[in-house]
């Protein structure tokens, strides 16, 4: 019996930044592994380094030291072009501020990653997934003509169009009201389950984090595995 390789594997990754007061290490050596299909929540207070870690894992930023393997590929030794290719092939993203291209329609926003990756029939794929998120009637609307919840559903559809192996989500419900948050959460986890995608989710919403299989806690640049159940604060 062979053991499936880890989808994400980090070894002692650190991140340093240069400030006016000199060099500052904002991530302490971090090592952890995420298995394929696993859902992981990274929780922590604002400024704890969650988004920095997400940026490094997604190849949006470079590590100052240590190793990151994504689906068996050494992300830490890749240049910008190679990281872009990897993101296009294997990674999907969902952001707190939706990050839709304002001058493209909902349908075109969804088509965008498929076109960049050079997949066949991007429009058909986009229409299908737009239907899945229940926004086929809004296909030709521009982002500023959609509500926040609708925009995030478009963003989710965009994230899944390339069938990514990993989905990184940064506070996906942070900008939404509770009704829309629930809708978006459900959609995210349903699609995740359906496509067996590995999910890495950054949030400070404990309720959302609890829906993930694992919870990692970030505090002052240090990452620890959360073993105790999270305390859910009503209304959070």
């Amino acid at each position: 019996m062979t053991i499936a390789p880890a989808m994400i594997e980090t070894k002692s990754i650190i991140k340093k930044v240069i400030t006016s007061e000199g060099e500052l290490q904002i991530l302490q050596p971090i090592s952890f592994t995420v298995k394929p299909g696993q859902s992981v929540a990274i929780i922590g207070a604002s400024g704890s380094g969650k988004s920095t870690l997400l940026g490094l894992l997604a190849g949006l930023d470079e590590v100052s030291g240590g190793h990151i393997m994504i689906d068996g590929e050494a992300l830490h030794s890749m240049d910008e072009e190679q990281r872009a290719r990897l993101r296009g092939e294997k990674v999907g993203f969902i952001f707190q501020s939706f990050m839709l291209v304002q001058s493209l329609t909902a349908l075109e926003n969804i088509m965008l990653p498929a076109e960049i990756a050079g997949l066949s029939e991007p429009k058909k794929r986009a229409q299908k997934i737009l239907e899945q998120v229940g926004l086929d009637h809004r296909a030709n609307h521009f982002p500023n003509q959609l509500s926040g919840g609708e925009q995030q559903r478009v963003a989710i559809a965009r994230a899944f169009i390339t069938n990514p192996k990993i989905l990184f989500a940064d506070e996906p419900t942070g900008n939404l009201d509770s009704t829309n948050s629930t809708k978006v959460e459900n959609l995210l986890f349903d699609l995740n389950k359906e496509s067996n995608t590995t999910l890495v989710l950054v949030t400070h919403d404990h309720k959302l984090a609890q829906r993930c299989q694992r919870q990692l806690h970030m505090d002052a640049g240090e990452l620890t595995e959360q073993t105790k159940p999270l305390k859910v604060v009503s209304g959070e």
């Binding site: 988004s51 997400l54 949006l60 872009a84 290719r85 501020s97 001058s103 960049i116 050079g118 521009f142």
Partner: protein, 838 residues
Amino acid sequence: MSTVFQLAWRLFKHEAKRGELTIILLAIVLSVGSVLSLSLFSERLQGALTDRSAEFIAADRQLRSRELVDDAWLSKASEFNLNSAYQVSTRSMVFGPKELALADLRAVDANYPLKGSIKVALQAFGVPQATAELPKSGEVWIDSRLFQLVQVELGGNVDIGDASFKITKVLSEIPDAGFSVFNTEPIVLMSTEDLAKTNVTGPGSRVSYKYYFTGETSDLDDYYDWLRPQLNRDVHRWTSIEDDDSAIGRSIARAEQFFLLASLLAIVLAAVSIAVAAQRYSQRHYDPVAIMKTLGAGKSMVQRIYLLQICFITLLGIILGVTAGFILQQIVVMFLADIVEVSLDIWHWRPLAIAIFTGIICSVLFSLYPLLQLFSVPPLRVLRRDINTTLSSKVLQFSTSGIAVFLLMWVYSQDLMISAILFVSGIILVVLLLAVTHVLIALGRKLGSGSMGSWTLAWARIRRRAMGNSVQLISFSITIMLLLVVLVMRNDMVEQWRDQLPEGTPNYFVSNVTENQRIGLEVQFAQNNVTGGGFYPVARGRFVAINDEKIRTEVTKEDAEVANEGRQGLGREANLTWGTELQTGNKIVEGEWLDSWQEGEPYPLSIESQIAGRLGVKLGDELTFNIGSEVIKSTVTSLREVNWQTMQPNFYFVLHPKAVENFVPTYITSFSLDESRKAEITSLMAPFASVTLFDVDARINQLREIIDQVSMAVEFILILVLIAGALVLIAQVQASMDERLQELTILRTLGAKGWMIRFSVINEFLIIGFVAGLMAAIANEFSLYMLQTQVFQMEAGLHLEYWVIAPIVGALTVGFLGAIGCWRLLSLNTGELLRKMV
């Protein structure tokens, strides 16, 4: 279609529809449109003016020769599709029934004149009317003066050489008569066929030949290229109106330089607006680029997508700009149709090529740095919105923009001097402005603290957005400076033109006036309410020695020909005058005027500075003249600058009256008589039959007309540049309003009162406009000084009024535009503002 093309096209299509590209598109349209309309209009106008001025040489080009030229030269001209005509001129005695006089004999062929027209009158000194006819065989048309001199009537006969001719017309004017009150004999016009019959052009006679050519400029140039190797400098002289050193020639040359300057400034304005717009365009695309990179697009893909977008925008901008520019100049030309005859039929390709070239260079070079910034936006921006771009090199930005502007100016003007002057002025302005911005920041630090009012808020914002404001300040100042340069240049130029021919400019000259006649004329003028100029004594003298050293090299004939109008007359003999009063339009540049002479000192003499330079004469030199059999010696005590543009008798040499007290001079004078009193001239001059009268009214009117036309055209160019400048200012305010959106939204959301936000924004713009205006006025002085002294050969002076006007108008204009911009933003409710920010 490739994915990249599809993506670029899709982005372009949507952004164009949603108005996202309006600013950059407008900038390109503006640049292409203004450059096209200005260059097309100025090219057409120059064509019209050159055509009009060509009348002064009766052709587009003229070949003057002292010998008959080979017939093959003329047949070659027709091979080059040129029309040609010729004139033979000589001096000859004309014999009337009782009197005789020396006349300027002009024999012309049937094609003469190729440009302009011959004017005739029904009686001597009558109202001139154009005619298409020419004297027939056996006929002559003679000058009004000759009727007086040889005492003959219209219809009578005169003998010239061996032939007799019937006088059938009073000749008022031929286009290329030239003008000089000295040494000019009355003209007799006849056909070339009759010239041989007179036998006056035999050996020993001084005959000159003029060959006239018209045709397309390229054909004329080609013909000249063919002809040039065969020309002999001593015998032939090829001229065009551009070589004309007369008042008209200079006015036109200056106007051409002004058009060039205006077009150059339009290019710079366009470049500034594109730079502003490209920066804004780039900043608005930071998010899409970060998103695309996050979704897997490599840098090269992003580069291709946005370069294609710029291509689409440039192409659309050029198409719209060419259309707008063409329509604009068509409207201006139609509006000007009654004043200037500008042909719309000829299509000039050069302006179109320049406009398209400008559009491409501007959009490519000025988008380059913003695009490089855009390409370097890291994907991490999707998580950290504060990250903008990793490329930040103001040196690179300023140097690429600077080089681009300079190259564009140089390529377009092909005039290194104008380009360098404007460019250096621009750099001085930028350096000045950077210093001022630092002062402003320091000031803002003091003024921007304290209780929150609209002024405090404005100062605080200026301090906070120091870099952004300095860029904005620079672009506002450059725009205002360029507008000031064009405005002041136009005012100074038109004023100087008009000064040449003020109201009451003499339109008649009288020469050969004896002492007795002088007294009689003075009385006659006074009784008839005629404003006369002064009477100047004149004697013709041969200039023979400098410091007793005989002159070997005389001033050549060519020099005399180059010298125009008033300058003529210094050939073999000089026209000398004397007096102790300095003539108007004369200025002592070295030494002391004659009135400082003391009894016992050598007789003083004043010499015109340019001729002094040519003759190698300096202060203290003793000059010797022979007047008749007398020898006159005088010492040069002053050099004078003479304004040859004034219509008054001007002299190279002015002697002290004591030096020539034994001579009985004749006098020359001038007077002005209104058009309405023209009929009085015969009765006015009747008692003075022997004096020589010159009617220069036609010449003055022609000059005045051309100056009016050029002034009018210059004014329209000014309006075009002002419109271009206003659009640039709007684009700049609009772009900066975009950057203010976030702050306005926050202030609004926090409950700041609308009026306070509005006034704070208006106040901020008022401050920026004021400073920009002041800086522009300072830089304007430098540019103008350099342009006027180095390029336009005009007198330069300070323009202090603009030190007050520019800051006030700058503050009001920029403040007003800012008010409109923020009114639009603040008319949105908080929700709409927040949505606009996303």
